[in-house]
Symmetry: C2
Amino acid sequence: MQRRLLSSAVRCFAANGFHATTTRDIAECVGLSPAALYVHFPSKELVLFEIIRAGHEQVLTYVRDPGILALENSADRLRAIVSAYTRWHARHHVTARVCQMELNGLTAEHYGEIVELRHQTNGFFRGAVARGVADGSFARVDVKRVTRAMLSLSIDLVRWYRLDGSDSPEQLGEFYAELALKLVTPSRGTAGG
Amino acid sequence: MQRRLLSSAVRCFAANGFHATTTRDIAECVGLSPAALYVHFPSKELVLFEIIRAGHEQVLTYVRDPGILALENSADRLRAIVSAYTRWHARHHVTARVCQMELNGLTAEHYGEIVELRHQTNGFFRGAVARGVADGSFARVDVKRVTRAMLSLSIDLVRWYRLDGSDSPEQLGEFYAELALKLVTPSRGTAGG
């Protein structure tokens, strides 16, 4: 029942936002009364926190995959990390939308916990970019800004992605991985001037 | 007063979302009763539509600037269009957040009008990419997907941009313009494999 409540809440929050969703909306989708929901989750904020926490932990698991960290070649490693991050956001795009867009519904304490998870995830990204800059396989880019741009690409897909669209999560992951590589490839000074 | 109501509504919608904002919230910020708001806007949806319509028209004006369309060099033209689009989203990031994230609060008819404006704006982007592909200054990229990625970069800034952050709208515009160029620069086959 807890699982069904969470998946009902994800749909409600993604469609109407946390603030406009009532516990009644969440409970009614699974045939419960709001009072019955409180047995599982004492507050609506705790439902949101559980969704966002679990989502962020999954993303972190994706990007710190031992198989990725074992990749010696910096381009291969960056490609794998971008692809994994993108794939998660595409495959779970409804949950991902809540994870990315409803953070302002969290209490300050819970928000702090999520920010910590995001820092860890973003750290693997930044590390992958910095590694290639350091070993000379990437251009000497502004690591922080370029990493933020790579994250932006994948995060923004929660706004438009559909599973029945033209790209599977895997295809989009590969495409964004190639774009990420382009952002760090040393310029040969043609179109870029 | 209409202007003050709209700017109050932008703040409310950006902070809590359209669905969770009441006409009372909007009116009280400017010292009016909800009834007085209805003199100016017969429904909350019309307030949202006016904000989103005006925002999208401004963006369209930015990207179809005659100065941009007069640029003969394809790289210069793409750089100018990305920079203008990014600059608008950064400078007006609170309004832009409503324009990008609250489209599902619109009626079907109003949504259709906005989609039409978006198609026009996106058409200038796609045109700028396709032009460079056609004249050989850009790589033979997938125009539709690459254009979508460029748009994503600028749209996602509405989630995190702050005017007191490290980049001014102009600086971020220039940075994203350079990134956009990298996405279309012919590969020299190093990091990208």
